[in-house]
Symmetry: C2
């Protein structure tokens, strides 16, 4: 971390305040506590996101965890190694909660998930959630849905007590809070930058904020959605990385534009792969679309070749036009890259029949002759 | 196999002759030898393909095999079970030859592949062939390239002798001839139907032949190539299946049109997946394109997550325009469906930068943040 190519690097410094009028950042040396002012020509804000913690949950003790970055994962791992907890409660049944359920189960810890919404992985359609629930239960995970966590407090005996909104009380050894993240925007807001969707820093497609010479990107900023043609907030790694490149080019004077996201995501829940691209049905409806939903069951490859697995594909279509709005898939094999085929088709604006016409690869170890993508598009065409 | 919905089914009958003027097919009952004439309104020819056998190879004995349909695979399997051959020679190092090498090796048979071209799997680029060769050799397969087979003859001692074009002589227990297939067109040609590319039955995009009320599809017929915008001959399962549907619709009076192929194919060679879509470099050049080739090395997913494998991607681009003409990939994981992403992008006519802009799925078990498709497109953009 040296000064190379004219880049100053202040490690272990925290930006305390921004003064956009004076083009100045006030930074604190975390070792000495000393405050310094740094003049800038151009400023990039990439403060990331932080876990949302409900008011009744106190995370200051040693047995209640959140996840942000490598160090918090290391703390949790160290605690598990040293204190050998037997029981864990995960608050939140989204991607992170479910991936952590897999990790905790692998450490031999009996895990309960409490999800406020009526089903786990609420970012996915009901048909997908059902398969995910069955997978979790088959691995011994207890699931409580439609119930919130009112209060979490560590008791003196090395246990944690969680009081649920239905009045029930759970005693456990550790609690992991994973109900989602929010953009870290205090610095930006105090500097007078406009905030936008879900409180993320408002940006245009060059990742410029509402004030001159200040850019923002990653989990603290909005992301342009190419299907909705407006900004959304979907904090994911590729988006952050891509926005960083756009900012770099824009700061350097190029007219680069963030191409936009489709909300493409994939997650592993024990042996299941869960993936999505585009809009979910409720989400599409919230943006004014009238929707149809089509569910297609197929196999990852022919049943006569070993290892064949069922794949469920859910298509969200615009009523009338049959325009493809979103796709979700779940299965134990061949899901992660097939969602990329759908994302590519969605980007191309292909109709169902154009998707059905694609010349995709077939060989028995990898696909049926008419593979899951082609079959789902055919089933959707028949439902028109 | 009954007469249902007005469909007459003649099993164990062979079409001996077509009389298009009289709209008549002459068919022979293979049980009784009896000849009958069948009047038709509309005729579909789907006679398939058959293995090419070089003149010096006699396949009439018990130890020299070709592959066409399930029964020939069953014959070979039965022979292996009953006669326990120790050594096999495969003539031809294409998809089928290499897949059979895997199957024979799994039966404990030491296998030698003789390929006339300078390298195995000549339908793929050199960079891919090299990785395939190493994979074959690591599984104990002997490879002889740049040499043909002059003569194959069974000797009295239960062995087969193969004389190569370089004068060498190989003694082996069984020989499998897999140098490719040719369309079965005798019936069509004798009836006066025009033949086209590589001797396949000439068809338009409705799969109509040169004579009225006769359609042809599958491995006996040409296939329209959507990138070349002309007919080619690439006998593969999805093409045959899709042409069958188009024929069905066309015969029934619908104006269905075969959308065309991209030459997308995938094959398993031991633990490697080999896949392609679009044009190879030589192939593109043979159609008049000036080409650039870009090779990108990436990983199926991050190295820190278990099971990460190297993926090689070869892009064939048009010189000057950088238009994508074809993609080939090889690796042990995450190849089969990624070629489908490329096929979809190729169908959409996406530029490299449009491909680099795709919002594809990332999670450590499945992909790097910038996965193999995005990385290869970036490397190709930098080479512009």
């Amino acid at each position: 971390l040296e000064r190379k190519k004219g880049v100053k690097v202040h490690v272990l410094h925290r930006a305390e305040k921004l003064l956009p009028q004076q083009k100045t950042a006030v930074i604190r040396d975390l070792n000495t506590g000393r405050i310094a002012e740094e003049l800038y020509d151009k400023l990039v804000i990439s403060t990331g996101a932080e876990p949302i913690v409900p008011p009744g949950i106190n995370t200051s003790g040693s047995r209640v965890f959140t996840l942000r970055g490598l160090s918090s994962a290391q703390s949790l791992k160290r605690f598990i190694r040293e204190s050998s907890p037997k029981e864990a409660l995960i608050v939140g049944g989204g991607y992170i909660g479910l991936e952590m359920a897999g990790a905790l189960a692998a450490s031999g810890i009996h895990t309960t998930i409490v999800e406020f919404m009526p089903r786990v992985i609420p970012a996915m359609e009901e048909e997908i959630s059902e398969m995910v629930s069955r997978e979790l239960e088959s691995h011994g995970i207890d699931i409580i849905t439609g119930v919130g966590v009112e209060k979490v407090a560590e008791s003196s005996g090395g246990k944690v007590e969680a009081i649920l909104t239905n009045g029930n009380c759970l005693n456990t050894d550790i609690v992991l809070v994973a109900i989602g993240v929010k953009p870290r925007t205090q610095l930006a807001a105090e500097a007078g930058l406009e905030l936008g969707v879900k409180g993320a820093i408002k940006v245009n497609r060059q990742q410029r904020t509402s004030l001159p010479d200040i850019w923002a990107g990653g989990d603290c900023a909005e992301a342009y959605h190419r299907l909705l043609q407006r900004n959304t907030y979907v904090p994911l790694a590729l988006t952050a990385n891509r926005q960083g490149r756009i900012i770099g080019e824009s700061v350097a004077g190029r007219d680069s534009v963030f191409p936009g996201i489709l909300g493409t995501a994939v997650s592993k829940v024990f042996d299941l792969t869960v993936a999505r691209t585009g809009l979910g049905e409720k989400e599409a409806q919230s943006y004014g679309y009238k929707t149809n939903k089509v569910v297609a069951t197929s196999r990852s490859h022919p049943a006569y070749y070993p290892g064949s697995q069922e794949i469920q594909t859910v298509l969200v279509l615009e009523q009338g036009s049959s325009r493809l709005l979103g796709v979700q898939m779940v299965g134990k094999e061949g899901v992660a890259q097939r969602i990329d085929v759908w994302a590519t088709a969605l980007t191309a604006g292909f109709s169902l029949s154009q998707i059905h016409d694609l010349d995709l690869a077939y060989a028995p170890p990898f696909s049926t002759v008419w593979g899951p993508v082609l079959l789902a598009s055919r089933i959707a065409m028949k439902s028109e």
